[in-house]
Symmetry: C2
Subunit: 487 residues, 2 copies
């Protein structure tokens, strides 16, 4: 009889997940992209188009990678070094989800080098994943059951609302950070988030941080990491430290990037109380500018997590062709050393160009030392100190000024008026154009005037074809907003 | 007060999923691999080692692919055709989860060509995934909620128990098929499975078939597909047709491969009653022998499924480097046509070698016309007609005869004595050695004797180095069983 009742029920056609696949697309983070896609800036063919400043891409050092590829054709050609035999058929068959040992060794060394060898990564604790998106989701599957929560300091990357929650059923509870102390994470803020989770009857399984922070562009100070690790130790929960921007941290020590693992190792007893609950996420999308190659990684000293995540990686392995190329590239220590140094130098240069340009027109930024973006305070340009005011200003900046930037509300920032502004996905000249447009806007915001007209006027006559403008000759379908897995 | 209670609870350290990550490793399917890894056959260096016949790899046509790569160096070199400009930086940044249009177009055409253009695939209905494993899981996430069930005809690929259930919470209810009618799917068997699901209070969301079947090696007859589609239409549920072995179907029409989509299109009204509930899974791992490159796809006419699955694909995108290579390869129609024909010819030749060799020693197979394996009946060699008898025989075949084959019980076959035996991952000479070993075993099984001694004696003097033996020079860690995402 029971079965009869079930039989009469018309089964729901799709899963609840598929029915609820908004995937963050309604957020202004994605809406700005949509506008950009309709009318993208090009210095020659569309000089009044929208400049994409909502995309955290690193286009500053491709020439260095291309130079290396020229000198090392075996890496792309799938041959052994020195014009040797083809490894095509070996790679074609290689689907060991532990990854190509040569690649994991090179990646572990590269990660150690980036952290000044203060942390040494063991290749056997690395799980390869098809990008950091996949790495974060896999960790969520490993650490949280449906309805369990992770605490995440605000402002945070908007994609987490999809990546961490959608398929896993995990929840995010924000740790509210404020401009008063430069959005730093404090123990009271952590305790407050923990209490709010408890009130919602959620079991807190851990804290997730991005370090360097997306969207703040700041490497977490050692003291803040100590606070977070102490909290995690006290509560008996996990820490996921997403360090995908590690190689963008351009400040000199001691102000620079410190890995969570370094802080763990520095604890009494070598951090034995927490070391198996601290997990690092990494990727080559930002530091090497290779998001298209989909290379991410989980690093964990917890054998059960490594084991489970390795098995989960069969749902998103890295192409063996790509592993082979990157094993050769990252295995070249002279290259990686000089690449990392030069890449950081260029990031700092571009960062300074943005910060100086903004300062000249009276716009301040959170002081930052990493990332491919700045966290910009435009609250004084809002007509009202509210999120409605932020949205109004944001629309002006997108539609009138022609800059697609990301409003802080999309990053769950509690204070209106902050914006994430990316600088590494364009040429210095395009950044100049953006600054000129913003200057015109700020001037007119006090004196009035037609911003769209100013924007047209602001196009410099000296503009030349941007060498980094990506012209999608390969694209055969019209482009649509929110097509990217970008972070 | 409530929150206090929650606070006192010591949180479980890992998720239930991570704690239950056996991942099928305990099944004999994987145990045989473990033995193989300890003592792998090599015609020169280890002629008495275990021959891997549990691995559905297609190593028969790499020379054709290599020849094409020689003639088209731009595809690996990431240059435009004819020694043109580098597309490296475009690909480095390409993370559009709709995929490289050139690749999707070429893949759609290749899939249409494989089905004799009786079905024409629309690139905009394709979702790219990092392998078929990921495709099947994504479809499960789209179609089933926790506790919903899919019906799967037995015997079925052992990995489904992990791939479809582990992270999604979906259940599998077997559709029991039997040797009496060649393991064909019947309406009574489908109805029986549906009733059993209802008794377990599971909501049935669909049927999943592999066509051609893994492990049977048979392309589903059109009549059976009609039965299945009728069932799906009547119940208002989904059909997932995993067609990753489509290109291995070597029989001439009308006995050959028929896609589920062809049957849908042939229904009254063009199949409008079911067309948005029939979803095809494809991959290049078997037909092209490229499992290492992790290229899978979902094909669906259901816009909501395409939309949700596309967004899910951000958890497992295909490397843009690999998409570029394969866009060029699959875009070469002359090549794909001759490759597919020659590859099928070679598969049939090797298949016939196995079937004939087995017949000579009195072992029968299910008549088959596809796949990289045969479904072999060794029930007469068991000491008891039971699964204990099957396991005992299987251990003898692995440890004494030195052949790693997969027992039917690992595929949920209800009749003991069947084994999946792969033939396309070795040379013809190695297959000869395997047949000689089996002959000695069968002879001794009647006359008694030391099988291990026979195995050593059976190594032919004429053995030469197997050109396809993969020597993992790139491996730096000791190999461990069950490292593969293979299907």
């Amino acid at each position: 009889m029971v079965s009869q009742v079930v039989a009469e029920e018309k089964p729901q056609l799709l899963s609840k997940k598929a029915g609820c696949n908004s995937h963050g697309q309604d957020s202004s983070y994605f809406l700005g992209w949509q506008e950009y896609e309709k009318n993208p800036f090009d210095p020659v063919s569309n000089p009044s188009g929208i400049i994409q400043m909502g995309l955290a891409e690193n286009q500053l050092s491709f020439d260095l990678l291309e130079e290396w590829l020229e000198k090392n054709p075996h890496a792309l050609g799938l041959r052994r070094e020195g014009g040797g035999a083809s490894v095509f058929r070996e790679l074609a068959l290689f689907q060991d989800y532990h990854g190509l040992p040569a690649f994991k060794n090179a990646l572990a060394r590269f990660m150690s080098e980036q952290r000044g060898y203060k942390v040494v990564f063991d290749p056997s604790n690395i799980v390869l994943t098809a990008g950091a998106t996949s790495a974060n989701e896999a960790l969520m599957f490993c650490l949280a059951d449906h309805g369990d929560a992770f605490l995440i300091p605000t402002p945070y990357y908007p994609g987490f609302d999809r990546d961490l929650k959608w398929r896993t059923g995990a929840e995010i509870v924000p740790v509210h950070c404020a401009s008063a102390n430069g959005f730093r994470v404090t123990r009271p803020a952590l305790d407050d988030a923990y209490r709010r989770a408890q009130k919602r009857r959620l079991r807190v399984k851990g804290v997730l941080i991005t370090n360097p922070s997306n969207p703040l562009g700041t490497a977490s100070p050692r003291a803040d990491l100590e606070t977070i690790v102490d909290f995690v130790a006290a509560k008996g929960i996990h820490l996921i430290s997403d360090e995908i921007y590690a190689g963008t941290a351009f400040a000199e020590p001691p102000a620079g990037f410190v890995s969570a693992l370094e802080v763990v190792a520095g604890r009494d007893g070598g951090g034995a109380d927490v070391s198996d609950r601290v997990h690092v996420v990494y990727s080559l999308s930002k530091d090497l500018g290779l998001p298209g190659f989909r290379v991410g990684a989980i690093y964990s000293a917890n054998a059960a997590v490594v084991s489970a995540a390795t098995k989960m990686s069969s749902f998103g392995l890295v192409s063996s062709q790509t592993q082979y190329l990157l094993a050769a590239l990252l295995g070249d220590r002279d290259f990686t050393r000089s690449y990392v140094a030069e890449n950081k130098r260029r990031i700092k240069e571009r960062h300074d160009q943005l910060v100086d340009g903004l300062r000249e027109i009276g716009i301040g930024c959170l002081p930052s030392n990493a990332g491919l973006f700045c966290w910009v305070d435009m609250s004084h340009l809002m007509r009202s100190r509210s999120f409605a005011g932020e949205m109004e200003l944001w629309k002006k900046v997108v539609f009138e000024v022609g800059l697609n930037i990301s409003p802080g509300s999309s990053c769950h920032c509690r204070e209106p008026g902050w914006f994430r502004v990316c600088f590494a996905n364009m040429s210095a000249k395009t950044l100049d154009v953006a600054m000129q447009r913003l200057r015109s806007f700020v001037d007119s915001a006090t004196g009035g005037g037609d911003n769209a007209a100013l924007r047209r006027a602001a196009v410099p006559v000296r503009s030349v074809s941007c060498p980094l403008a990506i012209k999608w000759a390969l694209r055969l379908t019209p482009s649509i907003a929110d097509r990217k897995a970008e972070r």
